[in-house]
């Protein structure tokens, strides 16, 4: 008898095949209020985290970049400015509702012509090998069912010398921060989600999924395991968020 494969969905353990659908329903529910909730929850600091990520892409005009699980397109918009009109950026997300929000925001910002938006699963990206100079995934990896497969897939589509940037919630390292952060995550976030997005459960999932996500060193080892060289990470806001980087050689 084969053992049934399971995955974490927050603190719940669900069937492996079920997680993607449940994550999709969470993000379909919050897509409309996603940006305003990000600003409220992080007091606007998520913009600095993303700006820092963009400052490390090393992208130059004419290059190609991929934003995986790009959601409402913050990183894609920044990379579009970096690669210019001669370059190309692909914004992908597994969730059509989030992707539609991202596409609309890019159009509203006048960023058109050299951007593609497509629904894609991070675990099996529909691109040829060695296609992109830089791949980013911002606050998306923890929602992926098979994270190892997603990292391998992102490694495959990177050109040799290309860089992966993983921006994700992580484990606080600043002494004394963890209990405050826990209280905020489990009390304030669901309450805020209930009031603003009328969906407390999705924001409870957010807090739980962050706790179940690999910590800095574990994710670093996963990057190395997926084939990335010179892997390292930067703790942001006392380790609440970490930016992991690795190169394909």
């Amino acid at each position: 008898m084969t053992e049934k494969r399971t995955a974490d969905f927050g603190y719940e353990t669900v069937d492996w095949a079920e997680k993607a659908a449940r994550v999709r329903s969470v993000f379909a529910s919050v897509a409309g209020k996603y940006d305003v909730m990000n600003d409220l929850m992080s007091f606007g600091v998520h913009r600095l985290w993303k700006q820092f990520t963009l400052s490390l892409t090393g992208l130059r005009p004419g290059q190609r970049a991929l934003d995986v699980a790009g959601g409402t397109g913050d990183l894609a918009a920044g990379m579009l400015r970096q690669v210019g009109k001669q370059g190309r950026v692909v914004l992908s997300d597994i969730n059509p509702a989030m992707l539609a929000r991202g596409r609309d925001r890019l159009i509203d910002a006048g960023l058109v012509g050299n951007v593609e938006c497509l629904v894609a699963d991070a675990e099996c990206l529909p691109f040829e090998d060695n296609s992109f100079d830089c791949v980013t995934i911002g606050f998306g990896l923890r929602n992926v069912t098979d994270k190892e497969a997603a990292l391998r897939s992102m490694h495959r589509v990177l050109k040799p010398g290309g860089q992966l940037l993983v921006l994700e919630f992580s484990k606080p390292t600043l002494p004394g921060l963890a209990p405050i952060y826990d209280a905020y995550s489990f009390k304030v976030l669901p309450w805020l989600g209930g009031i603003v997005a009328q969906d407390a459960a999705s924001y409870r999932y957010l807090a739980e999924s962050i706790r179940m996500h690999p910590d800095q060193e574990t994710l670093l080892a996963m990057l190395t395991q997926a084939g990335f060289a010179q892997a390292r990470y930067h703790n942001l806001s006392g380790g609440i968020v970490a930016l992991h980087r690795g190169y394909k050689l």
Partner: protein, 205 residues
């Protein structure tokens, strides 16, 4: 442990942007592909620089897995003088280079070629006018600091030499040293004469 501080990542991003925009820096980075340099700022921190894919990667020395091709160590002021290409010799002698000196020299050239224009970097965040004003203010503050340090030193020296007479001044010192030299030479002459007299006495005896 591969945690790299944010400030180091920011410095790396600025240097890489400058490398990408300058043909000479790109050539140097290409020549240094795979080579690494360890910079040990005595008592402050140790960093590792590695060129990979035409980019410069910076991390803490303890995060590096393999030994560096070259190691430069020295006090902060001496290393700063070396990296900025200043010709002030003070402290330069206290910089030590171990390993492949050619790699160390090429890294020095790369860092000079990719040296950031801080006013330009600030203008990306603050805008041109505030960055320019901040730059002018910083230069004035630096210049004031330098002249204040010099005049403070001169005032202290003057007090110690002329008022408290704890130390002698340069003219008196030179005169004293000349006197010592004169005394030594006179002593040597007297010793030579005595030896000559001794020889004559022995010959006469």
């Amino acid at each position: 442990m591969a945690e790299t501080p944010v400030w180091l990542a920011a410095a790396e991003a600025v240097l890489n942007r400058n490398i990408a925009s300058q043909a000479r820096a790109r050539r140097l980075a290409g020549r240094l592909e795979g080579k690494s340099l360890s910079v040990d700022v005595t008592g402050v921190l140790a960093l590792r620089a590695t060129c990979l894919g035409g980019r410069l990667l910076l991390c803490r020395e303890e995060a590096a897995a393999e030994p560096a091709d070259a190691v430069i160590s020295g006090p902060p002021a001496a290393l700063l003088t070396l990296s900025t290409g200043g010709n002030r010799p003070a402290g330069a002698g206290s910089v030590q280079v171990r390993g492949d000196a050619e790699v160390a020299a090429q890294y020095r050239d790369l860092l000079r070629a990719a040296r950031p224009d801080w006013e330009e970097e600030l203008s990306r965040w603050l805008g041109d006018v505030p960055a320019r004003r901040l730059g002018v203010f910083a230069r004035r503050a630096f210049s004031w600091g330098r002249s204040a340090r010099r005049s403070f030193g001169e005032n202290i020296a003057e007090y110690l030499q002329e008022e408290s007479r704890t130390l002698v001044n340069r003219v008196e010192l030179d005169e004293f040293l000349r006197g010592v030299d004169h005394l030594r030479e006179t002593g040597d002459r007297v010793a030579a004469r005595l030896k000559r007299l001794e020889r004559r006495l022995q010959d006469a005896g």
